[in-house]
Amino acid sequence: MKKIAFLLMMILILTLTACIEQSADKLIIGLNPGIDTIEIGDEFIDAGAHANYVYRTLEPIILSSDVNPNEIGVYTIVYQISYLDYTKTITRIVTVVDETPPILALNPGVDTIIKGQEWVDSGVDVQDNSNQNVSIEVLGEVNINTPGEYMMTYVATDENGNTSSVIRYVTVLEVD
């Protein structure tokens, strides 16, 4: 039994020895699929890279990465694998864009008034993923002396031109 095992091992050694021709071509590195075009402010999840040398699975390292998901731009991640005498790298390019419009919400206000009563525009709350300046335009007006329904439209635009709007109705009543 021991001899058989030994022979088997010797055969295995010879087989392995025959395969031991080293070559850079056998060192493979590739990207894992990921989402590399992301919205500013979103979390960037680095899907990483994979590498192998024939049947040996290897763990690539991140050689460099300058991804800043909080700033619009094009970033580069370089992965590197070193094995035996060989080193290979692969690049992932990450694009941070802003395509999300600002999110608008009405601030609570008193929007039902009696004719002649003062109406105070309580405005809107704006949130935007870009941390940029968002401009707000208010369309429409309220004539407090004329009973009726008035429509106010708030239009928000971020620096990348993404826009969104929200409507507030104001009712002026004739009598109390």
């Binding site: 989402i35 080193t87 929007d111 109390d176």
Partner: protein, 837 residues
């Protein structure tokens, strides 16, 4: 069985490492009697060159080694000088003739083996030349089993750890390294031949671990290499077959944990392991030398200077001669060799001598001898080149393991007698105890800065050890019927501040150690857990009631209690009540007693009581007594506070009080003024999208006198303007209404596009497959293409059109130029392992 399994794994996982192959082997041939004869060496590339040189200088080619060393014999002194000038190297043939003449008995040649002098081997031989009871294992390339220097010295269970075969026929050295190492350790000294090894009589257990030279590859010498598995196998085999010391003049840069296990296995069996530090001339760590349990040996030359090839660093333990060491070579020859490979066996040999002389000493004691006997070189004390210094066999033999006295200071704990122990040894005493304390270890100083671990730390001089005690913390529990007291923790021997406790109606007397309150707590230091009991005694107040100046009653009332008095009787007079003053200004209201008290009885003098009430119609605002028919002066109108929605204006009293004929209760009357401005709509989000939750923020109504009813027609599922009515009721009367209009407007659907994971950074020529995107609503339309043949940035746009809304999302794809030269050859890995010079 376990070891065997590991080995099988290792066979598959062969790691080829290099020997520190010995440097500058210069074979010489024995010759005699010629008044001038000298040999010169030259490194040739092939046979043709060797013969060409012989012809050019007209000298004899007397040897051409398989390593390309050509040896030339010269008979003319002028020719010798000419050739040496041209670059030929002397072959020390003089020493050969000297050797053959002077060697004999125990007389070493000082020229021939300087190492023996440097290490004071001859002086050590006065103690012992080696014991047959000691076994020295040499893990190497085997040994020349026919060499005259090892006759009768080789173990029959010598072992080929690569082929796992036992017997001398399996350990034949074809390389020469093992034979040169073994010669340093154990060459016979009384055979009148060759060299003298350091140890006699002891058995050499040869472990051949190197690979077999493949005759097919002439240019490569596979026997220089070995597999880690064979080394591991060798260590286990040696440890299991009685080795007292193991020499390993080999190594690699990888700290194989399985090798470390084998080393620790051997260590636990008491084996001392010695290995060469490496010949790279750097501070790179070489294993097994750099393992903690292995003595790492650096090399010095004849002038005690560290050899340039010798590795150095923090793991170097000791130095030994390694340059130009005369030793045995295969084929029953001799030569000079250099390398830490030759330094390690010097240490191994001396270790074997020490074991022979001190067979009963522990591994630790023997290690102490080696270290204490070394002669310091280089920087004072241990340094990274010489380690502790150059090994010295005589000093190590003479290391006196003198007795030192150890005193024990236990600071009031159990006394421990001083003990005597050999220096450099550990001690162990029973831990002392101390009342109220926990022992927390021994220290070398009374400030407890430097711990001393029994059984681990060594005693080197007369010393005192200090026992550290930590006082035990005890719990003091307070039991009281009064205000509770938290239990406290107090260290043994400490005092503490007693807490206060109070109990209504009682006086606190103090804390007692028993629940029967017989023994007051004295405040003595704490010696254990303790319960203290609060003692209280009742607290009484004296109440004296007077009627018309005479004492009517005298009673004792417990503090915090109330009491009652029987009404006093006087003929034709009605008793009106008790007063705290004899002038009857302040009536006494019976309440809990907290001090001594005098009371005075007041009797009716026929006046009529008139009570004016406050705005709450409950509280007495004014109490007046008048004689029948008289009027009362009414108090100022009591102010009734406004509520959020009402103000109150006083309009008069409920009764006439101009001529009182009977007892009266009089109440204030107010007019109630409603404030409509107090009720406004609270801000809300009243424009909502269809289906959205609407939160009614209601009104600012906040008056208990008013009720609110809400009427609403709101339907958030239908676009429109809806009225919300807030009806305000006073009692059941509708007094006011507020209106809020809520607009429900059409909503916009929220379309979201999410990119699917994709590889968007590719090289020219790669295939690109768009993995697309997904959306919660509608269909995705994709525009944009990627030209994988041209580098650049490409934009793919995903568009969803749904209910007149258009939403897009972009994805960037980068096609990069292929980097042709993407292979970096790391020079670190190109370096040949272990080989130097």
């Amino acid at each position: 069985m376990k070891i065997r399994k590991i080995k099988y794994i290792l066979i598959v996982f062969i790691l080829l490492l290099g020997f520190f192959f010995v440097n500058q082997i210069q074979p010489y041939a024995e010759t005699e009697s010629n008044p001038f004869y000298a040999e010169l060496l030259y490194q040739v590339t092939d046979d043709t060159e060797a013969y060409r040189l012989a012809s050019e200088y007209q000298v004899d080619l007397i040897d051409l080694s398989s390593y390309g060393i050509a040896t030339y014999g010269i008979s003319e002194s002028s020719k010798y000088i000419e050739m040496e000038t041209d670059g030929f190297v002397p072959n020390s043939s003089y020493e050969v003739s000297d050797l053959s003449v002077t060697l004999g008995g125990h007389t070493p040649s000082p020229i021939y083996q300087y190492a023996l002098d440097m290490m004071h081997i001859q002086e050590a031989w006065l103690f012992t030349e080696g014991s047959p009871d000691v076994t020295i294992a040499i893990i190497d390339s085997g040994i020349d089993i026919s060499h005259e220097e090892f006759i009768g010295r080789l173990s029959n269970i010598s072992y080929n750890s690569r082929t796992e075969q036992v017997g001398l026929s399996y350990v034949i050295d074809t390389n020469g390294h093992g034979t040169s190492v073994a010669g340093v350790i154990g060459a016979l000294s009384d055979n009148s031949k060759g060299i003298m090894g350091i140890v006699q009589n002891s058995e050499l257990l040869i472990i051949k671990a190197n690979n077999e030279d493949d005759p097919a590859t002439l240019e490569e010498d596979e026997s220089k290499s070995f597999s880690e598995s064979a080394i591991i196998e060798g260590i286990y085999y040696a440890a299991d077959h009685g080795a007292d010391v193991i020499n390993m003049s080999l190594g690699g840069t990888y700290a194989n944990p399985l090798t470390r296990n084998a080393v620790e296995y051997a260590r636990d069996l008491g084996v001392i392991l010695v290995a060469a530090a490496g010949n790279d001339g750097t501070d790179e760590l070489i294993y097994p030398a750099s393992f903690d349990d292995v003595i790492s040996v650096s090399a010095v030359d004849e002038d005690t200077l560290i050899a340039s090839y010798s590795n150095y660093g923090t793991e170097i333990d000791i130095a030994a001669p390694g340059t130009a060491i005369a030793t045995s070579l295969i084929n029953n020859t001799y030569g000079y060799a250099s390398g830490t490979s030759l330094a390690a066996p010097q240490v191994t040999g001396i270790v074997a001598l020490l074991i022979s002389q001190f067979p009963n000493e522990s591994r630790t004691q023997l290690m102490e001898r080696i270290l204490l006997g070394a002669v310091d070189y280089g920087v004072l004390g241990r340094d990274d080149y010489y380690g502790i210094g150059i090994i010295n066999a005589e000093n190590s033999m003479n290391v006196v393991q003198y007795l030192v006295s150890v005193q024990f200071e236990t600071f009031g704990g159990t006394l421990i007698d001083s003990i005597e122990v050999y220096s450099g040894h550990t001690i162990d005493v029973i831990a002392p105890t101390k009342i109220g304390h926990t022992f927390s270890g021994w220290y070398r100083d009374a400030l407890f800065q430097t711990p001393f671990v029994m059984g681990v730390d060594l005693v080197t001089t007369n010393s005192t050890l200090y026992a550290k005690f930590v006082p035990i913390s005890y719990t003091i529990t307070f039991i009281t019927e009064g205000s509770p007291c938290d239990s406290i923790e107090v260290d043994y021997g400490q005092t503490f501040t007693l807490p206060d406790t109070t109990l209504l109606g009682y006086t606190f007397n103090g804390w007692f150690t028993d629940s029967a309150y017989t023994t007051p707590y004295s405040g003595s230091p704490v010696t254990g857990n303790m319960m203290l009991y609060a003692s209280f005694s009742i607290l009484l107040h004296q109440v004296i009631a007077y009627v018309n100046g005479e004492e009517y009653a005298s009673i004792q009332v417990q503090d915090g209690n109330i009491f009652s008095l029987d009404d006093p009787h006087i003929e034709n007079q009605r008793f009106l009540g008790w007063y705290i003053d004899a002038e009857f200004l302040t009536p006494y209201v019976f309440r809990i007693v907290q001090s001594d008290l005098n009371l005075y009885a007041k009797f009716d003098d026929q006046q009529i009581l008139v009570l004016f009430y406050d705005s709450d119609l409950i509280t007495i605002y004014q109490e007046s007594y008048v004689f029948t028919g008289e009027g009362v002066i009414a108090p100022d109108a009591p102010i009734k506070p406004s509520t959020p929605s009402f103000d109150f204006i006083f309009t008069g009293w409920s009764e006439s009080y101009d001529s009182v004929t009977y007892e009266l209760d009089i109440y204030p009357i107010y007019e109630k003024i409603y404030k409509p401005e107090s009720i406004v709509l609270l801000p809300g989000v009243d424009t909502i999208s269809i289906g959205e939750l609407w939160i009614d923020q209601e009104t600012s109504l906040n008056d208990d006198l008013l009720d609110l009813e809400i009427r609403s027609e709101l339907d958030v599922e239908t676009v429109g303007a809806y009225f919300i009515y807030y009806d305000i009721y006073d009692q059941d009367t509708l007094i006011d209404t507020r209106i809020r209009v809520v607009h429900v407007i059409a909503s916009q659907v929220h379309i979201e596009i999410t990119l699917n994971p994709d590889i968007t950074t590719i090289e020219v020529g790669d295939t690109y497959i768009d993995q697309g995107a997904s959306t919660n609503l509608g269909e995705i339309e994709t525009t944009g293409t990627v030209d994988t043949q041209n580098p650049g940035t490409y934009l793919i746009t995903y568009r969803v059109t749904f209910e007149n809304q258009i939403v897009t999302k972009n994805k960037y794809v980068y096609v990069l130029l292929a980097i042709e030269d993407n292979i970096i050859v790391d020079t670190y890995y190109m370096k040949e392992e272990g080989v130097n010079i």
